[in-house]
């Protein structure tokens, strides 16, 4: 006969995850505190609305998205403002996270074939700290991309204030930056949900399990628990 624990929505780990990070509580480790999760969701929501209002303006292939907001002319009004909100959120996120995102020398390999090896589950992750090289590069790409989208977007918002050649360039920069954003975002969401189960909890609960940390971020696991993540064979 098994005993069932009473349901307690606010357990110790969730309470700790309000303002602490890198703290071990039972089987869980606090990964993202509330401020960190809040800024990530702010970036996510402002970007998502910008995406859904921008894509129907970009091409009629995604014209159906405009109906979610009441038509293309509504999208045209909403898009620049949520775009600015996204930039502000991304800037705050940058300040909040940048200290964790300094690239270590060997992590520059992630720009090359290492990203593909990672997707094939072929990389040796034993030295991966709180964030792996791919996550750090994605952070820098998002921060840089946010600046590119803002500057080109402002030009497109006020076309009569700028010369035509500059505007043509702005259209191209906004488009290319967005395409790179969209493609990498697909993989960002996929990796954070379906591909790596247990990750999404860190964005809602703020915690991950010990087993998750051992698998994906062994060095971080060592640092926060003081235990060796893997037994020597």
């Amino acid at each position: 006969m098994s005993t069932v624990a009473p349901h307690r929505p606010l357990d110790a780990a969730v309470i700790a995850a309000r303002d602490r990070e890198d703290l071990v509580i039972g089987n869980e480790i606090v990964r993202h505190n509330r401020a960190s999760r809040l800024i990530h969701w702010t970036v996510a929501v402002t970007f998502l609305i910008s995406l859904l209002t921008g894509m129907p303006i970009w091409t009629p292939v995604f014209g159906w998205m405009a109906h979610l907001f009441g038509g293309l002319s509504v999208c045209r009004v909403i898009h620049p403002w949520t775009g600015v909100a996204f930039f502000i959120a991304a800037a705050v996120m940058f300040v909040q996270w940048v200290s964790d995102m300094r690239l270590e020398p060997d992590e520059k390999d992630w720009l090359g074939p290492k990203a593909l090896q990672y997707m094939r589950y072929q990389t040796d992750d034993s030295n991966v700290g709180k964030y792996n090289g791919g996550q750090k590069l994605y952070f820098w790409a998002v921060s840089l991309g946010a600046v590119g989208l803002l500057l080109s977007g402002l030009l497109m918002w006020f076309p009569r204030a700028f010369p035509r050649v500059v505007l043509e360039l702005a259209f191209l920069i906004h488009d290319i930056t967005f395409i790179l954003f969209a493609v990498s975002l697909v993989f960002h969401i996929y990796l954070g949900t379906a591909a790596e189960p247990g990750t999404f909890r860190s964005m809602v609960r703020g915690t991950v399990t010990r087993a998750w940390a051992r698998l994906h971020h062994p060095r971080w696991y060592r640092e926060v628990t003081g235990e060796e993540p893997r037994r020597k064979a």
Binding site: A5, R8, L10, D11, A12, A13, I15, I25, G26, N27, E28, I57, W58, T59, P60, V61, G63, L72, S73, C75, R76, M119, R120, Y121, M156, P159, R160, R164, V165, L167, E168, L169, F171, L172, D175, I176, F178, I179, A182, V183, V186, F187, Y190, A194, A195, E196, P197, G198, R201, T209, R210, A211, W212, R214, L215, H216
Partner: protein, 294 residues
């Protein structure tokens, strides 16, 4: 409002227009002879009157010109240019308005389905019902014609009086012209008339006379006779207008590649999941194993 009774050859942000293929419609054109224009501005008045665009405060620029450039409520502007030519003064007047390009850059740049249309007869028109006022058409236009209307938030420009042409009338500006320097008819007739006038001018001492009907935009539905045909810039016309390369590259190359890339990423993620599956956590992973509160 776009004309409901005319078939549409091309529509912005759309794959097809509404051509049924059953009707054959001749392409129409305005004919402007700058050499017989006397700068009376009757066409300006007629345009304002017929299209009911209201009054705009004039701006004194030191010439007879009504406004420095076209305006959302002023679609037809006689430009007055003075220039020293061979020791004398050439007083050059040109009727500036939408050129109704065969390949309209505004239509190529426009993101709103049906906001800019090209009718079967070649007239390019803005449909305010679909226009979102983004101003992309300004970047697309090689002639700097479309204008943003501050009050309505829509773009506005010459319609070539499509509402008149539709019912068999000539455009208002043509109707008002007292010298006959403005004519209206099929594109073929207007080009023939223009070529005949150019030959006449060349025989009368204007060896450089030419008909302005630029190939870069596939020709225009406004053909202009220029006495100084080797210097269209003297009249405020671009020498070699074309849809901007940036707009073409953006719409014809970057955008389709981007759509493919985005769908590719989604398909790629699914393919990855089916081939490699999730990176499962092994070992103790019981989320209920937390210490209870307190």
């Amino acid at each position: 409002m776009t004309s409901q009774s005319l078939e549409i050859r091309r529509s912005s942000a759309s794959v097809w227009g509404s051509l049924s293929g059953m009707r054959t419609v001749p392409t129409v054109s305005k004919y402007i002879d700058t050499t017989t224009c006397i700068g009376c501005k009757a066409c300006e008045a007629a345009c304002v009157e017929w299209n009911e665009t209201g009054r705009v405060q004039t701006v004194q620029t030191g010439t007879y010109q009504t406004l420095p450039t076209l305006h959302a409520q002023f679609w037809n502007l006689i430009r007055f240019n003075e220039r020293e030519v061979d020791g004398g003064i050439a007083w050059l007047m040109r009727k500036d308005q939408c050129m109704h390009c065969e390949e309209p850059g505004c239509l190529a740049a426009c993101p709103a389905p049906g906001a800019i249309v090209q009718y079967a007869n070649g007239i390019v028109d803005v449909n305010p019902e679909n226009c979102i006022g983004c101003g992309y058409c300004e970047t697309g236009c090689p002639f700097d014609v479309p204008r943003f209307h501050q009050t309505t938030g829509k773009m506005a420009k010459c319609t070539l009086c499509v509402d008149r042409v539709d019912v068999g009338l000539e455009p208002a500006c043509i109707k008002a012209c007292p010298t006959g320097c403005l004519q209206f008819g099929t594109k073929d007739d207007m080009v023939a008339m223009g070529n005949a006038r150019v030959a006449q001018l060349q025989a009368n001492g204007f060896a450089q006379a030419a008909l302005y009907n630029p190939d870069g935009v596939g020709g225009t539905a406004v053909v202009t006779v220029l006495a100084h045909g080797d210097h269209p810039d003297w009249y405020g016309l671009p020498a070699n207008p074309h849809v901007p390369w940036g707009v073409k590259f953006w719409k014809k190359i970057v955008r389709p590649l981007g759509v493919i890339a985005i769908f590719g990423a989604v398909i790629g993620a699914f393919a990855h999941y089916t081939k490699f599956g999730p990176k499962e956590v092994r070992g103790a992973d019981d989320r209920n194993a937390n210490l209870p509160q307190g």
